[in-house]
Subunit: 209 residues, 2 copies
């Protein structure tokens, strides 16, 4: 069983897709061992509790410095002894120590087709605002391993989503979640849990069977 | 009838898709008035002749300076009085005078989902090499209006294409042509010919009917 910790910051819709995937058997060989939020009282924590998953809150507010916060976050993760850490809308830049310690064991979902609309400053609704501003007709989502850069790690899965002419950032965000994020994130976890994902030369190879 | 000139440099497979589209009625209200190549003896010219389209060759070799070449190219285009200029694998940077004169009347096909893998240096097989090097799982093609920048003009149509794990740049190039380029380029011309494309605030609006 792949011990999986999920890091969240808000609503937790991607977390819910993962919980549902484990429950429905779309994600196999996976145990959700902990949900960690950097904000107290968010819906994601509620979803975790309802699913019987242990939760923890590590908030910047609770610590005097970013270093202490980083150490607390690392401790909260280490305590769960995870094989995989899933960033599901986690709006905190991970400490380098954490990224190095869990090299190729942290995955993130990004709401665009990397390398489009990614990197520093591209998160949440902002990504969709920029896509609409550029007038692209196709966007999507990407699940990737997290490395020291921003959205620069090896890509595991991507899925394209068509943009409609009357899209607002909010409408587009919802469609990208429904048609791409909630599909490829559970799928990526299942592939990893079943030993079907390897990283060679910074590129991901999936055992297609 | 939209008087359409097509600029080519080589094999002319996109030109062939356009010729076929006009013949089969997929592209309506369009007359192919001239095919201009910057290289003599290329297959694209053969395809044009076979389809009964007037051809011209304007080669850099024939002129003492880039300015003279640019003027000759502009003349060859002006002579055809085109309403639309289609760059179908035309590997020459267009003179600024030409771009300004035919503002929003020049379209180009680029073999990626802009803004990924585009800009200076990204042309032909190179685009696919870079996509495979980055390890993306989805690529595609883009038809866009040409402006003063490189691949920066308003996007008309895009189509996604999945990358397979054993793809070489050559195999990927062929799939992107077949599944995307040869579909969206004829479609874009038909939309323009039927007055269904407008550019507002550097974004393309398509009348969907």
């Amino acid at each position: 069983m792949l011990r999986t910790a999920v890091l969240v910051s808000g609503g937790g819709t991607n977390l819910q897709a993962i919980i549902d995937g484990v429950r429905d058997g779309q994600i196999t060989n996976t145990e959700l061992v902990k949900v960690i939020s950097n904000k107290a009282g968010v819906k994601a924590l509620e979803r975790a509790e309802k699913a019987g998953i242990p939760t923890a809150v590590v908030s910047k507010k609770g610590y005097a410095s970013i270093e202490e916060f980083n150490d607390a976050l690392l401790s909260a993760i280490d305590d769960a002894s995870p094989d995989l850490i899933v960033l599901a809308g986690f709006l905190v830049v991970l400490p380098e120590k954490l990224v190095k310690k869990y090299s190729n064991k942290i995955i993130n979902i990004h709401p665009s087709l990397i390398p489009s609309f990614c990197g520093v400053g591209y998160y949440g609704l902002r990504v969709h605002e920029e896509a609409l501003k550029r007038g692209v007709k196709v966007t999507g989502a990407t699940v990737h391993f997290v490395d020291e850069g921003c959205d620069s790690g090896p890509i595991i899965l991507q899925k394209a989503v068509e943009i409609q002419q009357d899209d607002t950032p909010e409408i587009l965000q919802k469609r990208v979640m429904e048609q791409a994020e909630w599909k490829i994130m559970p799928k990526a976890i299942d592939l990893i849990a079943n030993g079907r994902v390897t990283v060679v030369d910074r590129k991901v190879k999936v055992d297609l069977r």
